[in-house]
């Protein structure tokens, strides 16, 4: 009894580790980008659509010939790159949050059912996932948007409809693993119903994996949206999107590289931040790892 009591006393009470540098950096960037998107009308120095043909292809502020007030320069129609970047973030974040969450809900639900119930449920859901994954995702997305028509909603639907399989596979495997643990049997033996066991015993233990995936998926959604707007299948081409900016910047890369590079950097950082954020969260909340 004595040494058992002391084991308890020695057990660290601080369950949550201090947030890591990874979490700070990625969370920091996501906060900055998200608040820029949210408060775009107040933050953006110019109207993202306003053209000024006297001020085309102005370089960013540190180069010779920069125009004051246009921090990151202007594109070939004289539109402010920084403002377009900020408004582009709006689209990127809406797509990331809505499409990511939708894909997560569909995939995680089906994955949980398949992994927990097994048998026929698993076989049917598994086959659907196999068939789904046989389509090349980007082609599938382009096809879907072509059918649904362009627009923000179509992009979101396309991403959710295509990417739920990612969640389904991983969550299924995790749920199967948890299903085999004694505590699930213990819950059954204790007289709990199967649904309660699924929601209260299995789900909380699969949640870290879902969170990590959701974060990754948000990054992927940002990329897919950029790809779709790159090929002009996202929202109307006037509205600023990172993918659209990259497509436009590509045509004048030797004259005005900044039109291409800044949206690329924003895209890169955002996707990286999403994946690192998920990873950081997992390390912080996983009760077994800490």
């Amino acid at each position: 009894m004595a040494e058992e009591a002391s084991t308890l006393a020695a057990a660290p009470r601080a369950r949550l580790k201090k947030p890591s540098v990874r979490l700070w950096l990625s969370g920091g960037w996501l906060t900055v980008a998200a608040s820029a998107a949210l408060f775009a009308p107040f933050v953006a120095p110019h109207d993202p659509l306003a053209q000024d043909l006297f001020l085309t292809r102005m370089p960013p502020f540190w180069m010779d010939g920069a125009e004051p007030g246009y921090l990151l320069g202007t594109d070939s129609l004289g539109r402010d790159v920084l403002s377009r970047l900020i408004y582009g973030a709006q689209i990127a974040f809406i797509v990331a949050l809505v499409a990511g969450t939708a894909a997560c809900l569909i995939g995680a639900t089906l994955g949980l059912l398949a992994g927990y119930f097994g048998g026929w449920t698993d076989r049917i859901i598994g086959r659907i996932v196999d068939i789904w994954m046989a389509f090349p995702p980007v082609l599938f997305a382009i096809l879907l948007v072509a059918v649904l028509g362009t627009g923000l909603m179509s992009v979101i639907i396309a991403i959710a409809v295509i990417d739920w399989t990612r969640f389904c596979r991983v969550v299924r495997a995790e749920a199967m693993q948890q299903r085999a643990m004694d505590y699930v049997d213990a819950a059954t033996v204790a007289g709990f119903s199967r649904w309660r066991t699924l929601l209260r015993e299995v789900l909380p233990n699969v949640l870290p994996a879902i969170i990590v995936l959701l974060s990754l998926e948000m990054g992927i959604a940002v990329i897919v949206e950029a790809i779709l707007s790159f090929v002009n299948l996202s929202i109307s081409s006037d509205d600023p999107t990172w993918g659209g900016m990259i497509a436009e910047g590509r045509t004048a890369i030797y004259q005005a590289w900044w039109v291409l590079v800044f949206p690329l950097v924003a895209l890169f950082l955002t996707v990286l931040a999403f994946s690192q954020f998920g990873e950081g969260l997992k390390n912080r909340f996983d009760p077994v790892l800490s």
């Binding site: 819950a187 033996v189 233990n205 949640l207």
Partner: protein
């Protein structure tokens, strides 16, 4: 008086194939309030019996025939089983390290079962959980209630699981090698605790183990299994005093004795194994013939 638990000619088999039986027409009776030892080597089918009773057999294992009854009620019927699980019968699992949900606090897991399964009001359930933890000699029940499983030692977790098993005042408790995953010093205390709880609450206890010493210490009746076949059963003192089966005798002699430290270990001899394996094969032939 009907027995608390009775199995009769229970056979379970891999993928329901009569040639691959894991339990070979097992008969077993646990009387009311009795401590019954279920002994056998690993792979003898001890845990399979527990799993069949609670309806948690692995997917690949099917029930071929026989009956399982709790006070005369058919446990192979799902509706009957659902009603009895957690109320009238409880399980003390083998491995305390995996039998608690790692992401939920002990208190929540303990009171949940009182509230959700038994319908105890939340306030009463908290008090009851504290009493139970106190009964299993956990010193700081308030603190343990707020802890996550990984913050407790193996012995502590097994105490929590014992408390959980007795929560509903069940009439039958199946303890599936409850001390195997613990180290030797803790084992003895947990064993004493289970016995004490059993006596206080008056439940029948089916104690699954491979340890003859434990059987001798706490059980009144025992059943010896080999390869899913009942080798011998009866009152513990009778069997220990004069085992009828050569296999039981060999098992008893194989138990290491602290009072004879210089003795070499005496494993069950190949001759005995061959004899018992022949019994198993004969039982299988009879079963298959009968099935035809």
């Amino acid at each position: 008086m009907t027995a608390t638990l009775s199995l009769s000619s229970l056979s379970v088999a891999l993928s329901g194939d009569p040639r691959r039986r894991l339990l070979r027409s097992v008969d077993l009776e646990v009387a009311r309030g009795e401590v019954h030892g279920l002994v056998g080597e690993s792979g003898a089918g001890k845990s399979m019996i527990g799993r069949t009773v609670f309806g948690i057999l692995p997917r690949a294992v099917g029930i071929l025939g026989g009956t399982v009854a709790f006070e005369g009620k058919d446990l192979l019927s799902r509706t009957e089983l659902r009603h009895l699980r957690g109320r009238e019968m409880a399980l003390i699992p083998q491995d305390p390290l995996t039998a608690l949900n790692p992401s939920r606090r002990i208190g929540a897991q303990l009171t949940d079962r009182l509230v959700k399964v038994l319908g105890t009001p939340r306030k009463t359930a908290d008090a009851r959980a504290l009493t139970l933890l106190d009964e299993v000699q956990i010193r700081d029940p308030d603190r343990v209630m707020k802890s996550f499983p990984h913050e407790l030692s193996g012995g502590m977790r097994q105490r929590v699981l014992i408390a959980e098993a007795f929560a509903a005042e069940p009439k039958l408790i199946v303890a599936d090698e409850p001390t195997t995953a613990l180290d030797v010093t803790v084992q003895k205390r947990i064993l004493g605790l289970i016995k004490a709880m059993q006596e206080r609450h008056g439940a029948a206890l089916l104690f699954v183990t491979h340890d003859m010493g434990v059987v001798a210490k706490i059980t009144q009746a025992m059943t010896v299994l080999y390869g899913g076949l009942v080798v011998e059963h009866g009152r513990t003192e009778d069997i220990l005093a004069g085992p009828k089966s050569a296999y039981t005798k060999a098992l008893l002699e194989a138990t290491p004795r602290y009072d004879r430290p210089d003795d070499a270990l005496r494993p069950v001899s190949p001759v005995t194994i061959a004899a018992i394996a022949e019994d198993v094969a004969a039982a299988d032939r009879a079963f298959l013939d009968h099935a035809r």
